[in-house]
Symmetry: C2
Subunit: 352 residues, 2 copies
């Protein structure tokens, strides 16, 4: 059995090595230039600084310059890189990709095709970077579902979704990854899983709006009823977009959709960003504050991309953007300076 190569020594890459090691796999963990400090500390102390865990014993570390070496005897390569970095990492990886090597994507995002204006899922991006000779020869799997890296690293029971058009490859990955505390469902709905992963942040930011409004001094009540209404509206709008794009409703109504939306709404960067806006900061102020905290805000570009996608679908008559009041209002807050409370009010008024 070949090795597993994890690209990205950030939180998720390192966390995924935990179930892999628990499952007796040999793992090569390769860090990008951005991971240099983390890698160096791991090599020296055996600890991952941010995750606060000891590096599992089965892991061999590789620095950015050692990609070729890291690819030797590898049968599964896992991309645990921020979505904005997937294309460039693929370009570096391609020379070492062998026929049959399974590519697993753990990034969650959308990329706009610079030529057509179409929105590409992470698997679309990965596929587009494969040379002609390899297309269709590398099974691809994309990961969705509720899985915070820290929880995976600390062996909190976690159930995710592996989507692939190649069920045998998905099953192989399932064997490689499954432990008593890390399980996955398998589906062929790569579109649905890819879209849910990218779109949930856009909707979850609205839960952060509620956190922010609650924090104001004149607000003396929890907005839980509203959170539930917005969660459900998010599911409805997500489902419409996913189905219009050829994904399945059952994917949205499952761990990849509702599950991931729920976990994102429980806290983390997306909610924090929404909370800042809900508390009265402008988008610029909130982005600046997040930058000061060294937090990437994937929600911000994702909202632009998803709104653009919905507009395009609406223009083509496949979707009515007026049926997506939550998306519309989140966009208005992030990109048009709309007041959060006015946006919430307008969204609620438009609920059907």
């Amino acid at each position: 059995m070949g090795k597993i190569l994890v690209l990205g020594a950030g939180d998720m890459g390192t966390a995924l090595s935990v179930p892999l090691c628990q499952n007796k796999q040999e793992v090569n963990l390769w860090g990008t230039e951005f991971d240099a400090e983390v890698l160096e500390t791991m090599a020296r102390t055996g600890q991952h600084i941010r995750l606060g865990i000891a590096l599992p014993g089965c892991v061999t570390l590789f620095s950015a310059a050692e990609l070729e070496k890291a690819c030797q005897n590898v049968e599964v390569v896992v991309l645990a890189i921020a979505s904005s970095g997937i294309r460039s990492i693929m370009q570096r990886l391609v020379p070492f990709v062998k026929d049959g090597m399974i590519i697993v994507n753990a990034a969650k995002g959308l990329e706009e095709d610079s030529k057509t204006g179409n929105m590409l899922t992470m698997l679309d991006v990965i596929e587009s970077e494969l040379p002609e000779a390899l297309r269709g020869k590398n099974p691809m799997v994309t990961v969705g579902g509720p899985s915070i890296a820290k929880g995976v690293a600390e062996r909190v029971p976690t159930e995710v979704v592996f989507a692939s058009k190649d069920l045998a490859a998905a099953r192989h990955c399932q064997e490689v990854f499954t432990t008593p505390v890390y399980k996955m469902k398998i589906t062929t709905d790569v579109i649905g899983v890819g879209l849910c992963a990218a779109l949930k942040n856009v909707f979850a930011v609205a839960m952060g709006f509620c956190d922010g409004v609650e924090g104001k001094t004149d607000v003396r009540v929890k907005m839980h009823n509203l959170r539930a209404a917005l969660l459900w509206e998010a599911v409805v709008e997500l489902s419409k977009i996913v189905q219009t794009m050829g994904g399945k409703e059952e994917t949205v109504l499952g761990p990849a959709g509702i599950g991931d939306l729920y976990v994102t709404a429980l806290g983390g960067r997306t909610c924090l960003f929404g909370k800042m806006l809900g508390g009265g900061m402008s988008t610029e102020q909130a982005l600046e504050e997040m930058k000061n905290r060294h937090q990437t805000v994937e929600t911000y570009p994702a909202t632009k991309a998803v709104y653009k996608l919905a507009q395009m679908l609406s223009k083509n008559g496949k979707l009515n953007i007026n049926d997506s009041p939550l998306l519309t209002q989140v966009y208005a807050v992030l990109f048009e300076g709309k007041d959060v409370e006015a946006a919430i009010s307008d969204c609620f008024a438009a609920l059907q």
Copy 2:
């Protein structure tokens, strides 16, 4: 247009008078013997003690002894009583129920039929108390969905579900209740809505388990991934039971199911009780502690009732109780003294 009579001057009864008054209805608010102190204070100060709000101007208060008077010129009567009190209140109400009066149930629970052992929803209980002459002549509506009383009282945007076999009656209630911040969807699935309302507490208690385990000193990570897995499992198991009983999947996959489950999991009594158990208290200790805090634990009898229902359905071959590991493990913790962490582990292992 007739008046609206709300039975029960507790949190929910009083809260519901807020949208009714905002909507220019005349409301009679009748309190039971248990509400005597709250009523007396409201009459004297105009404030509801627990809710912390001023009584809306459209409300006329009636004490327990004044039920007949409270029923005059009433076209809609709303039962906002704890589920355990619905039968006895109906027995007191029946002499004053007029042909055509719409009965709205806001209680959430199940009652075991003492003769047949069947589980009755609140509407079943209400109907069984109507005299022969009135059966079928009083449209009945049951309320589901995510609505914490305090939020309704404070005008947090809230979206609920009104279920009735009589759509005209449901629409009439919709007109009477709808405000810009209190909206409702309408459905004919009274079984689904009634069951969701009763069953969600049983599943939401497991989210409280997570709170409790997180509170232990040796646990240094949030169990969000597990929460998401359990939320989804709850939806799956709830859906099976509801469909077996003749309710609709779409009710579970909507505000009455997922929405109410989500809001219950965000906090409140059910979670608090689960947290105590997750933190290591025995069921007896947790019940005692809840009693000291004057908190009713509807989850406790509900779990027994729902587990019994699932066993009965399993025995009849309509459901396989092994497909309900979450329900089984919640029951084991509450009624068989099983350790919460062992229960979580066994539940997760059984997820399909």
